[in-house]
């Protein structure tokens, strides 16, 4: 896991100082080493910061080249099946000088060209220069776990793992004038939107190839999640899920540095802990965070798993005071604004303090196996779609935000359904908060519509699609990436293993979802391992005491709008996350902590 950056420009002729500045703006993501590569002839500079997990020796250092110095690569991530690929390459006569996965990527590219990305199972964002063909290739993993942002215009390319890197080398880089609108609608910035003008993320599962002689560019998808049904029977699905998830967890435990697990006590993290235990013997480390208030504790459920696996567990307490003190650092850590991420911040911080370099997280299970409320709600949503237009206008008169969001359903498509479930402010409110028109907001929504085929997915698949491609992609994965990197920690997500995702997408919806039991396939597949107390328990959302704590954060000159929102926070009409979202959008104002 690392951080990468680069500049290709004949105009500015990037030098070591500039690339170092860009690279080191993301220093926290790579404390174990760094390197640069400059090619003056091409006007090219690569920078790399390293967090070492596989091959901790100096041989793993980047930018890395092959023996003939044909390829120069910088790479952020892990290729979990690199050993398998290496064996194939060894059989073809290649030889290796290090035991790192980076070197495997180089020779995989030499052997298979851009087809090599199809062979990789892991999380990665990488850039490689092929000096033989004078081509530059940017690639990002199948699920978009690792970020890669770029600027490509007028025969110039800038790229980096974080958006902050662009701002560092050019503090006056123009802002994207619409980002606040998107942010208040979604609570995150939906790809391809970023806070800066002309900076966009590389699409997941794709690569971008640039011919440096002609600046001809070509983008191609190398992995796409299809609803490719081949499994129609539950028994078949169960045995395959069990086998594939076990293999995925085992793969994700490959590391030369200490690795642990987040254990919340829910189904996903409990399951990962149970599956990991036999692979790590007595070396199982788990951690959780608790907040001040006992009623938010999941301790009894964590204890069941700790006893069963004999894990060395540590629970860390986050107090109101610590929360308050950490706010500036939390905002600093956010590369891109996100309403979520506070608990990621704390848990990553403590994981690092615990001495871990990498942890496994249950991220992705809800989206894949149907764990959200939105899966149950989709039937009702379908019915609302038959309502006449004027009925939606009525929704505006409700005082509380939740009911106002019925408004979004008049979009009558997957995006409307998403915003109904997870949107933050409705256009009428945003128009007030940002001094813009509702029309502008509806135009933005039009720009963000999902591909047409999503409308012809059956309702449950549609929910899975939007949760995966909007919520998980733009919020969970981003938060997880920059919060973990901020604390020099690697978070690994076995539920997004490529084989497992492909498998789940091949199961027919009748088998994949069950109206009476969330994540029924996971529970049934591991019924002998997973204690009933974990999955059969009173409903309890993941609640934080933030409702009370948020009030400490105010703007230095509390304008009328902030005051109204604060009042709403008091009387329960405004959820803390909406208030937080508004605060985060006010980047030009100073914060006041009471």
């Amino acid at each position: 896991m690392c951080r990468i950056a680069g500049i290709i420009s004949k105009k500015i002729k990037p030098n070591e100082a500039l690339i170092t500045q860009m690279r080191d703006s993301m220093q926290h993501g790579g404390p174990d080493g760094c390197g640069v590569y400059i090619n003056e002839e091409l006007g090219l500079a690569f920078g790399h910061r390293r967090l070492a997990l596989i091959d901790l020796s100096p041989l793993g250092i980047q930018p890395m080249m092959d023996k003939e110095e044909r390829i120069v690569i910088i790479f952020n991530g892990e290729i979990y099946n690199y050993q398998e690929i290496k064996d194939k390459l060894l059989a073809k006569g290649y030889s290796f000088k290090s035991s790192s996965d980076t070197e495997v990527i180089i020779y995989a590219y030499i052997e298979w060209g851009t087809d090599c990305f199809q062979h990789f199972n892991g999380m990665f964002a990488l850039v490689l220069l092929d000096k033989l063909t004078n081509k530059l290739i940017l690639a990002r993993d199948h699920a978009g776990i690792k970020p890669l942002y770029y600027y490509l215009k007028n025969n110039e390319l800038y790229f980096a793992s974080e958006v902050r890197a662009f701002k560092t080398i050019n503090p006056s880089w123009q802002e994207n004038t619409d980002w606040k609108k998107y942010f208040l609608l979604f609570g995150h910035l939906p790809e391809p939107v970023t806070t800066l003008q002309d900076i966009q993320p590389l699409q997941k599962g794709s690569f971008l190839e640039i011919d440096l002689n002609t600046w001809y560019t070509r983008q191609e998808t190398f992995h796409k999640l299809y609803y490719n049904y081949t499994i129609y029977k539950e028994e078949e699905a169960l045995s395959l899920i069990k086998e594939t998830l076990q293999k995925a967890v085992q793969r994700h435990l490959i590391s030369d540095a200490p690795i642990g697990l987040f254990l919340s006590g829910g189904i996903d993290s409990s399951l990962l802990t149970l599956i990991a235990q036999p692979f790590v013997n007595n070396n199982l480390h788990t951690l959780s965070i608790v907040f001040d208030n006992e009623k938010f504790s999941e301790k009894q459920y964590q204890n069941i798993i700790i006893q069963k696996t004999k894990a060395q567990h540590k629970s860390f307490l986050v107090t109101e005071n610590e929360f308050k003190q950490s706010i500036p650092d939390i905002i600093n850590a956010m590369d891109q604004p996100s309403n979520d991420g506070i608990n990621s911040y704390f848990i990553c911080k403590y994981a690092r303090q615990y001495g871990l370099t990498a942890v496994l997280s249950g991220l992705g299970a809800d989206e894949l196996f149907g764990g959200y409320q939105s899966f149950n709600r989709t039937k009702t949503v379908g019915m609302v779609n038959w309502l006449p237009e004027f009925m939606f206008e009525v929704a505006n008169i409700f005082p509380d935000d939740r009911r106002k969001k019925i408004n979004f359903l008049q979009l009558k498509d997957a995006l409307g359904e998403y915003l109904f479930n997870r949107g933050f402010f409705v256009p009428a409110q945003i128009a007030q908060l940002l001094d813009c028109t509702e029309r502008e907001l509806y135009n933005l929504i039009d720009d963000a519509r999902l591909p047409l085929f999503t409308e012809k997915l059956i309702p449950l698949e549609k929910v899975s699609y939007i949760e995966t491609n909007l919520y998980m992609q733009n919020q969970l994965l981003k938060d997880t990436d920059y919060m973990s990197m901020w604390h020099s920690l690697e978070v690994r997500v076995p539920f997004l293993d490529k084989d497992l995702m492909n498998l789940v997408y091949s199961i027919v919806p009748e088998v994949r979802y069950n109206a009476n039991q969330i994540k029924h396939l996971l529970i049934k597949a591991f019924k002998n391992e997973l204690p009933e107390a974990i999955w059969n328990r009173p409903k309890q959302g993941f609640v934080f005491p933030f409702e009370m704590w948020m009030k400490h954060i105010q703007l230095q000159d509390n304008d009328k709008r902030t005051k109204t929102l604060l009042k709403g926070l008091d009387n329960g009409n405004v959820h803390w996350s909406r208030y937080w979202c508004y605060i985060l959008s006010q980047t030009d104002k100073k914060l006041k902590l009471n």
Binding site: Y226, Y229, T230, D446, A448, R449, P451, F453, L457, I458
Partner: protein
């Protein structure tokens, strides 16, 4: 990203999931490719079938599908009404020409693509079929052979609008990696390990006496004078009358020790039957394309086919297998003798070569090119 205006495509076809045969296989792959291009956000494709009831969702999602379960009258009406909303309508079989013709008459801006497979168009067409051939914006032909037949029988047809669109290996076809003969089949059919196996896979219909398995029996009766270490398996459902006819031929040449009529083979055992063989043979005279040839090759088996029909395309003018004059028994016998005498067959290479020519990825790319031409 603002949602793109996608070209809307409607595919009208007879059957894909309720029967098995070459055209059905073509349709299944075609549906799959339409679905994938939709998920690629390039087109918006729906399909109506006159005979299928439900799609197999491996190939096509149900919300894009309507099946009419044999209710043809309703299918025709519904298809015409709905089709007017689409940019492109693909007519999957010339028997559905009337629909295409009416659509084109009501709304000429709808692009009509007609798919032609084989013998159904190797004669002069009349009525709505003839009219649609002339009116259609494009005609898709599964082989160059079918294209030439179309041109020969339909004077005035614009050659430029006929596009060659060969069949493919089904995307779910399980490609063998080991090419050994399955023991359970050797046991089931009681075949000693030292015997060479010849195989034909086809429906045996009395009305279509062109598949050439009768000629193979005759050729083998000659071959048995020089070697007797072989057995010929014919797989496929046989009509009673055809069964009697073939049994009479086997009697006539006294070939009961050499020929086995296997009957219908389930799809999930089909690949194993290909693997059981040493050579796949079908000197047919009227194949539109002959998907069984490329399936046999995908299983690493050499192929002998006729040189008078679409088989030429499937075997790429002889590059992928041996083409013989199906009316010349001596030539057929020689081809069999030569192939059985081969000491070493590189199954992996055969598989790779047929995939290079006809794998599903290319099929999908061809469809993309056709739609965006």
């Amino acid at each position: 990203m603002r949602r793109k205006e996608l070209p809307s495509i409607l595919f009208l076809y007879l059957t894909g999931f309720s029967f098995t045969g070459g055209i059905e296989k073509f349709n299944r792959s075609f549906l799959k490719a339409l679905h994938e291009l939709s998920v690629d956000d390039l087109i918006d494709a729906d399909a109506f079938s006159s005979y299928d009831h439900q799609p197999d969702e491996k190939y096509f999602p149900r919300l894009r599908f309507k099946g009419f379960y044999g209710n043809r009258g309703f299918f025709v009406l519904y298809a015409i009404i709905k089709a007017l909303r689409y940019n492109t309508v693909i007519i999957g079989h010339i028997n559905l020409s009337l629909i295409g013709y009416i659509i084109k008459k009501i709304k000429p801006s709808v692009r009509i693509i007609l798919i032609t497979h084989g013998i159904e168009v190797w004669r002069e067409q009349t009525g709505s079929k003839k009219k649609l051939l002339l009116l259609a914006d494009n005609i898709v032909s599964v082989s160059n052979f079918t294209k030439q037949q179309l041109l020969q029988y339909n004077l005035g047809l614009d050659e430029q609008k006929i596009k060659i669109f060969p069949n493919t290996i089904d995307p779910y076809f399980k490609l063998p990696t080991l090419f050994t003969k399955p023991n359970y089949l050797l046991n089931r059919y009681n075949i000693p390990a030292n015997k060479k196996v010849l195989l034909t896979v086809t429906r045996m219909a009395y009305s279509e006496k062109y598949k050439g398995y009768d000629d193979v029996i005759e050729a083998l009766s000659l071959l048995k004078n020089t070697r007797n270490d072989f057995v010929y398996l014919i797989c496929g459902k046989a009509e009673n009358q055809e069964q009697e006819r073939i049994e009479a031929i086997i009697n006539q040449y006294q070939m009961w020790d050499y020929v086995k009529l296997i009957g219908y083979v389930n799809d999930n055992e089909l690949n194993d039957h290909y693997l059981l063989s040493d050579v796949f043979i079908m000197p047919s005279k009227k194949e539109g394309f002959g998907i069984v040839f490329i399936e046999a090759l995908a299983c690493g088996r050499p192929v002998i086919a006729g040189n008078k029909d679409g088989s030429i395309d499937a075997l790429q003018n002889g590059k992928l297998g041996r083409l013989v004059d199906p009316d010349n028994i001596n030539e057929l016998e020689k081809a069999i003798a030569d192939t059985l005498a081969l000491q070493h067959i590189n199954s992996f290479t055969l598989q790779q070569e047929v995939l290079r020519a006809f794998d599903f990825k290319q099929y999908k790319t061809r469809l993309k090119k056709l739609l965006f031409a």
